[in-house]
């Protein structure tokens, strides 16, 4: 009886397997995930550009860095930095207070000039030019910053200004910190790093303000080696960062008129209590990933927060990301994920490019960026804080279907199966014995 049935069963299972194979091949062709193109951020092949502003005002003569004068320390450091310049870096030098020795403030405060244009550096010439500098005049930092921004020119790549100074600006207006903020707000990807050679509070505060306004760093120079290392590090950093290129965009306050964003990195400005809205079309089976950073580039009230909301076109909230804090920080960030769902509320199917899905219209998701920041008294509220938004679209991830196909794992499983086997064996044995006994009795 057994032998007669077996071929049939085998044929049946073979047919079933074939059917399954065919069906899966037809239906379940590997779903092609829409590769988000990072088109918005394609880096231009532009050399990293660094402009160094050297303070050559009269006070640089003071010999207080391990017994050497500030200017000699700066000159020595610059020599080393110029020697170590990476080949691809466009490097330039601007001086302030180098030429006008007089006491006329108006004239002294115009005293900033380009010592060496930003470009491929002739190292010997550059070093000679630096060596001839003699501390002379005033400290028009604001004007020098503007000049350096012009030296660096317009472009998409991040540019760096390295400011080496020993004194507080004595030429305001323009206030150098305001100038820095104004340059940052132009969206020309400018970072100002400041190095202070004097240690008085007012200078430090001003240089910190300039650095904060542009996302740069501040270093209080105590030793010649520290100065050399830091400037080298900054020049090096411009090499790493110049390719990253957020696209300037301007969010609106309403979803209807909001700019449409594709995957990439964007920059914008947001004022206190302002809402900025952007639109992202999301296809069925796609997951929207967005993150936002708001820079705290001025003196803020103690507590701060940021909120990123994803809403539907009708204003229904879909998901939100939020963060808050109360300590010293540079940016406050948050992010969110969201994907189109089905009737169950979860993404249950992997994205496929079948005709059905193509017919489905894109869902337009509005990203609303708002902040709960407040300025300290007397702080400028215009322009707004720098805002950085990244948008990405990835394949949506379906909810897992539970444990792996009825398979188990662990010692408890082994024990249970063994006991069950033992029990079955015992029962089978007892039944067999009982049957024999019954059969024998009869």
């Amino acid at each position: 009886m057994n032998t007669g049935r077996r071929p049939k069963t085998r044929l049946g299972s073979l047919l079933a397997a074939l059917a399954i194979t065919g069906a899966s091949l037809l239906l379940g062709l590997p779903a092609h995930a829409d590769e988000p193109s990072a088109g918005a951020s394609a880096a231009p092949k532009e050399n990293p550009r660094v402009d160094l502003i050297l303070d050559v005002s009269g006070s640089m003569n003071i010999a207080d860095i391990q017994g050497k004068s500030r200017i000699s320390v700066a000159q020595n450091s610059l020599n080393e930095v110029i020697d170590a310049l990476p080949g691809e870096t466009d490097f330039g030098i601007r001086t302030l207070g180098a030429t006008y020795p007089g006491n006329d403030k108006t004239a002294g405060c115009q005293d900033t000039k380009q010592l060496f244009p930003v470009g491929k550096t002739n190292k010997v010439e550059a070093k000679t030019a630096v060596a001839t500098l003699r501390p002379t005049g005033w400290t028009p930092i604001g004007l020098a910053l503007r000049g350096a921004a012009q030296d660096l020119g317009k472009g998409d790549a991040t540019r760096r200004i390295v400011l080496i100074t020993d004194g507080e600006d004595d030429c305001a207006p323009p206030d150098p910190c305001d100038v820095a903020r104004e340059l940052a707000a132009q969206g020309i990807h400018l970072v100002v790093d400041t190095l202070g050679l004097a240690h008085d509070d007012k200078t430090t505060q001003q240089l910190i303000c300039i650095a904060n306004a542009t996302g740069g760093s501040f270093t209080d120079v105590r030793t010649p080696q520290q100065l050399t290392d830091k400037v080298k590090q900054l020049v090096d950093q411009s090499n790493d960062t110049y390719t990253i290129n957020p696209v300037r965009t301007t969010g609106t306050d309403k979803c209807e008129s909001a700019p449409v964003l594709t995957p990439g990195v964007y920059s914008d400005r947001e004022k206190f209590s302002e809402h900025r809205v952007y639109k992202v079309p999301v296809k069925s089976g796609q997951e929207l990933r967005a993150s936002v950073s708001v820079g705290l580039d001025r003196a803020m009230a103690r507590d701060y927060g940021v909120l990123l909301q994803a809403t539907s076109a009708t204003g229904q909230e879909l998901v939100r990301g939020t963060d808050a804090g109360s300590t010293r920080t540079d940016v406050i960030s948050t992010g969110l994920r969201w994907s189109t769902d089905d009737s169950k509320g979860y993404v249950t199917a992997s994205p496929t490019t079948s005709a059905k899905d193509k017919d489905k219209p894109d869902t337009t998701v509005c990203l609303v960026v708002s902040n709960s920041l407040a300025p300290q008294a007397g702080v400028h509220t215009d322009p707004g804080m720098p805002l950085e938004l990244t948008v990405d679209l990835a394949s949506a991830s379906p909810a897992p279907e539970g444990a792996a196909m009825g398979l188990g794992r662990g010692w408890i499983l082994l024990l249970t199966l063994t006991l069950a086997g033992l029990f079955s064996g015992l029962v089978a044995g007892w039944i067999a014995r009982w049957r024999i006994a019954v059969w024998r009795e009869n």
């Binding site: 899966s24 990072a38 590090q233 990195v265 998901v319 994920r337 063994t418 086997g421 044995g429 024999i436």
Partner: protein
């Protein structure tokens, strides 16, 4: 009978080896703790923002000269099942130059710049004016294989570390200090939760710092086959289940033998089959 028992015992002894060998067999992603000779030299840089964060390859440390008050960003990759721990030590500026206590804080964010909670570790440390160094650490939650889009659970992809000075007297900002970063991770994909869950694309920023390293560290998306829905690949569950089935079969045979072959041990008791043929004949003969 004796040989059967011996066989069962041998099989029992073998099984743990089989089961324990299973995790090693499944492809485990390279863990950041690997201290192989191929480990990259420590990074000497740190980024200044999320976009410019410096990528750390698995097992790579960072040793950076910094200015007090800098915001330092690094990015590392973590994969499912891992529990990353970020360890930092900071050598503060010379005590003579400082004017008061300093507080340093380490924060960890995921690839979407969402703040990640630390489950253990000293997230911020304050050193008074005489302190020379501070140690900070942050242990994340275990990285999950999948999470609802609405949750903030840690997922495979990029993680950002931000080291900053959160409180210091203003004159102390800008002083030279050094920071050392080490990222360790324990655990592997084998016990990652939830089981069967996958994130189709790791949480990696579209561009900028962290984009490349995390892509390298994150598990490569598996190719889809026609059998993908039916067979999810070898995992330790297969070994456990097959081992369990084997044990059950042996135990079944053992149990059966225990009841069927009491020959000579329990003679004559309730219808036992007498072992010898002649005796058998005799007993039949005795019947009326």
């Amino acid at each position: 009978m004796r040989t059967t028992i011996r066989g069962v015992l041998a099989a029992l002894a073998l099984l743990p080896a089989l089961a324990l060998g299973a995790p090693a067999a499944s492809a485990a992603p390279p863990s950041p703790t690997a201290t192989a000779s191929g480990t990259a030299a420590p990074a000497t840089k740190a980024g200044t923002s999320f976009l410019t964060a410096v990528n750390l390859s698995p097992g790579q440390d960072a040793d950076v000269a910094v200015s007090t008050g800098d915001y330092l960003y690094w990015a590392f990759g973590a994969s499912e099942g891992q529990t990353p721990t970020v360890n930092l030590s900071v050598n503060l500026a010379p005590a003579g130059d400082r004017h008061g206590p300093q507080t340093w804080t380490v924060e960890v964010f995921d690839g979407l710049r969402r703040r990640q909670s630390c489950t253990a570790g000293t997230q911020n440390a304050t050193g008074d004016q005489s302190a020379t160094s501070l140690t900070l650490s942050c242990t994340l939650r275990e990285v999950r294989t999948w999470a609802e889009p609405w949750s903030g659970d840690p997922l495979p992809g990029t993680y950002y570390v931000r080291l900053s000075v959160t409180d210091a007297p203003q004159p102390d900002l800008g002083l030279a200090a050094t920071a050392h970063l080490h990222v360790a991770a324990k655990g592997n994909a084998d016990n990652a939760q939830p089981e069967g869950g996958t994130l189709k694309a790791p949480l990696v920023p579209p561009v900028g710092g962290g984009a490349s390293t995390a892509k390298a560290a994150a598990p490569v998306a598996e190719k889809e086959h026609w059998y993908t829905g039916w067979f999810s690949g070898w995992n330790s569950r297969w070994y456990w289940t097959i081992g369990g089935g084997f044990l059950a079969a042996l135990a079944g045979v053992l149990g059966y033998h225990l009841t069927r072959h009491p020959r000579g041990r329990r003679p004559g008791h309730y219808g036992a089959v007498p072992p010898q043929g002649s005796h058998q004949h005799g007993s039949y003969a005795e019947r009326p």
